[in-house]
């Protein structure tokens, strides 16, 4: 099977966020594989082990994203592709990203493309379904289990907590939800092997795209932090008194009772 994973390098949102020059400050911040994409990598490896074939991990980003790609290779993916936009593009949005991915996948004959349900930084959740539409593939979002038999695919997906059982066929795009699997940690031999696995670097030029074609449709005007919340009031005294005070505060100060 020809298996692809869409991987985004994301800011670890466990980190404290600050803003400088109108952007999220990323100096010294921790970057990770988007957690939902880890589920995608894990599932891709399992599908390959069960059905044969090859797992290729693809990311659009800058040079630094090589680290996350190497981690995916260390987990067990076979190949990685970094579409590096650093020198060519200043701005981009989901339209841009998908336009680039569409060009990349044009000649790939992918059987299945796995992505994350959402990226924890920008969090639009658009990339998977947008790409499916461009590639004219069916798309199943937020999957929690997948079973492939020939070209028939049985999927369970999470719909606001309900479980929907879906039947579809390859080629297919899915987006992964928490609960699909437990991503493995890269093993030491895995990390050693990953250093020698192929990591191809492309630019939009190599995909026959020029800047105009990928111009974003949206613009970020401003990034800001939520208004500093007044330090919460931790109530004191005996439980009875705390409860009385809470009810009174909810009624008179917060006005929610």
């Amino acid at each position: 099977m020809n298996i692809y994973v869409l991987l985004k390098r994301t800011f670890d949102t466990e980190e404290k966020i600050s803003i400088s020059n109108g952007r999220i400050e990323d100096d010294g911040a921790e970057f990770i594989i988007n957690p939902y994409d880890e589920y995608a990598v894990e599932e891709a490896i399992n599908l390959r082990d069960a059905h044969g074939g090859e797992v290729t991990v693809v990311t659009i980003g800058e040079e630094d994203a090589e680290k996350q790609l190497r981690t995916a290779l260390a987990m067990g993916a076979d190949k990685a592709v970094l579409i590096n936009t650093e020198d060519d593009l200043e701005e981009g949005d989901q339209f841009t990203t998908v336009k680039i991915l569409e060009a990349f996948f044009e000649d790939k004959e992918a059987d299945i493309i796995l992505g994350g349900n959402v990226a924890i930084d920008e969090a639009s959740g658009q990339v998977g379904p947008r790409l499916a539409e461009r590639l004219n593939m069916p798309c199943v979002t937020t999957i929690t289990s997948i079973d492939i038999d020939g070209s028939d695919v049985q999927i369970e997906r999470d719909v606001e907590g309900d479980v929907e059982k879906v039947e579809t066929t390859l080629p297919l795009i899915v987006t992964c939800q928490q609960g699909l699997n437990e991503p493995r940690y890269p093993s030491l031999p895995g990390i050693m092997k990953a250093k020698k696995k192929p990591l191809e670097e492309l630019e939009i030029d190599d995909l026959d795209l020029d800047e105009d074609e990928v111009e974003p449709k949206t613009k970020t005007i401003e990034i800001f932090l939520p208004p500093e919340k007044q330090a919460g009031k931790v109530l004191e005294g005996e439980t009875d008194d705390q409860v009385k005070e809470l009810v009174s505060l909810l009624k008179t100060e917060a006005k929610v009772l």
């Binding site: 949206t218 931790v234 705390q242 917060a254 929610v256 009772l257």
Partner: protein, 326 residues
Amino acid sequence: MSKKVLVIGEAREGTLRNVTFEAIAAANIISDGGEVVGVLCGSDSLEDMGKEMIYYGADRVITVANEELKTYTSDGYGQAVLSVIDDETPEGIVMGHTSIGKDLTPKLASRLESGLISDATEVVAEGGRIVFTRPIYSGKAFEKKEITEGLTFATIRPNNIPAAARDEGRAGEVTEKSVDVQNIRTIIKEVIRKSTDGVDLSEAKVVIAGGRGVKSAEGFEPLEELAELLGGTVGASRGACDAGYCDYSLQIGQTGKVITPDLYIACGISGAIQHLAGMSNSKVIVAINKDPEANIFNVADYGIVGDLFDVLPKLIEEIKQMKVNA
């Protein structure tokens, strides 16, 4: 510049979700005196729901009824809505950022080669442009965005943009359109319902949420009692769901539902970032946790350090007292 804006409505158990009315309000801001046109897909008569959309501010509504649209599929709804878009050539589209909205709108935007702003919590008209605010980085920051070219297309987070007051005096046409829905590539074999009837968690004004600290399914009983007393509903952390104390349909957070109630009471929840991503926008947050260092206290307006099984019964009594006195 006035615009024609479509609102894709969404029903749950036969009634329109409140976020549909909020989407109409957002569409009215975008349309700037233009026309707001509702779209409804389903398998039965949608006339009454169409009228409801008009009472909440739509100018007219187009319904597409077809056996194939009984349950949502992205192919089925995609074809139906695209066909309406073809007829109407709107300049804007708004829908709720719900499970269906998240699945359908990127597909439409991609087909229409348009931008899409997902999960907006605010929409304002500012000097001739429409500015959307949306949370990013798990709610730790916000961004203001606009669409620079083509359709003004957005999904909105439930419970953030106030709906207009219902006005039965409003009149408008509800017309039926027939669409030949075919070639659905993802067949839904079965839906295992986990969600219970009653208040929709993402639209509830009061949510009493329990975490691993609730310790068992029975442990949720005082939470349920309090929720009922306050006309709200019960929610949970991933920890409580994974432990089997409650169902995943109650899960709040990045993986679960994103909610913005007026009052959120977290009981025995530590406050992991993935949980906060789903509730930190709540208007008032109360935390009850026996660990004074728990992260949830960092986002709480009011905190009680204590055992929830000690605090909750007392809180229930106190609120009952308050109601008696009122």
